[in-house]
């Protein structure tokens, strides 16, 4: 556990204050935390363990948190670190990763100049149901899934995401760009398998 080294102690709360701050600042985010944990692990039991572990760490290091600052981003950062350090190694995630996706995408992550477009229409996405969208998201490698969850589902800014993920803002932008390209490919593939006409315009032109 390295939070103690990473996050300096900012203040000293009394025992009563610790519980008050915990209840007021941390507990309101528990639903978001649980959903984030579930989307990372794809497993309810693992999500339970990850959230519990995160909240216990948050309480232990509460003197590193300044009341009134961004508690949600602070908690998400702890959860993300716990996932990487403790859960990722033992999770089933490695078998679910398409390493070709990772290789293709990571090789060009820092080079976002490369232009790629996916032939997919907004109307096709509107026709897909929530489960199909969720399956496409869940099929992404975890680092790409994470940026989409943080940005699109949780509504974090690029700056907040950079702090949560410990990466520069430029990398947030390029990783998000790559993640969305990959997601569009997955959505297109789902739509095609379900019989949707994914590129009617192209076919009409031919």
């Amino acid at each position: 556990m390295s939070e103690q080294e990473e996050i300096p102690t900012l203040q000293t709360y009394s025992e009563t204050e610790k519980h008050r701050v915990f209840e007021k600042e941390f507990m309101p985010h528990i639903d978001s935390m649980y959903n984030f944990a579930f989307r990372l692990t794809n497993d309810e039991d693992d999500a339970n363990d990850l959230v519990q572990d995160t909240y216990l760490k948050a309480f232990r290091f509460i003197n590193s948190f300044e009341e009134g600052t961004n508690a949600k981003a602070w908690l998400f950062r702890i959860l993300k670190n716990s996932f990487i350090n403790d859960f990722r190694k033992k999770s089933k995630e490695p078998s679910k990763v398409d390493y070709q996706d990772v290789e293709t995408t990571y090789n060009s992550e820092e080079d976002a100049e490369t232009t790629q477009t996916v032939d997919l229409r907004a109307e096709t996405v509107q026709d897909l149901i929530g489960d199909e969208i969720a399956n496409a998201l869940n099929s992404l490698p975890v680092d790409f899934r994470t940026v989409i969850i943080l940005c699109d589902i949780e509504g974090f800014t690029y700056e907040e995401m950079a702090k949560i993920l410990d990466i520069p803002i430029g990398t947030v932008r390029s990783r998000l760009h790559r993640a969305r390209m990959l997601l569009k490919e997955k959505l297109k593939s789902y739509a095609k398998n379900l019989g949707y006409d994914v590129n009617a315009d192209t076919l009409a032109e031919n």
Binding site: Y55, L56, T117
Partner: protein, 93 residues
Amino acid sequence: MISEAEKVQGTPQQKKTHCEHEGECMKLVQLIVDGQATEEQMAQFKNNMAKCLPCENGYELEKCIKDAMQLRIEKKCVPTSLIDCIKKKISGL
């Protein structure tokens, strides 16, 4: 009859169907959709939208996917047993 939207965005017939800066434009679209664009980038985007069909379609697609992520993916409620367990452990510390 030209609609208000067409006055702002241009009619489909007036728009170019190929974008020679698609890579750059799609990065701009991402900033717009995520609410991270500056005023200058916003103005540039509006200008693009008025003239370029691929930019307009790209924006519609990105916006649609983002909306789907926000609104159509099931959000789970945290089990009360987990909340109880956390509170019990915290009170014991």
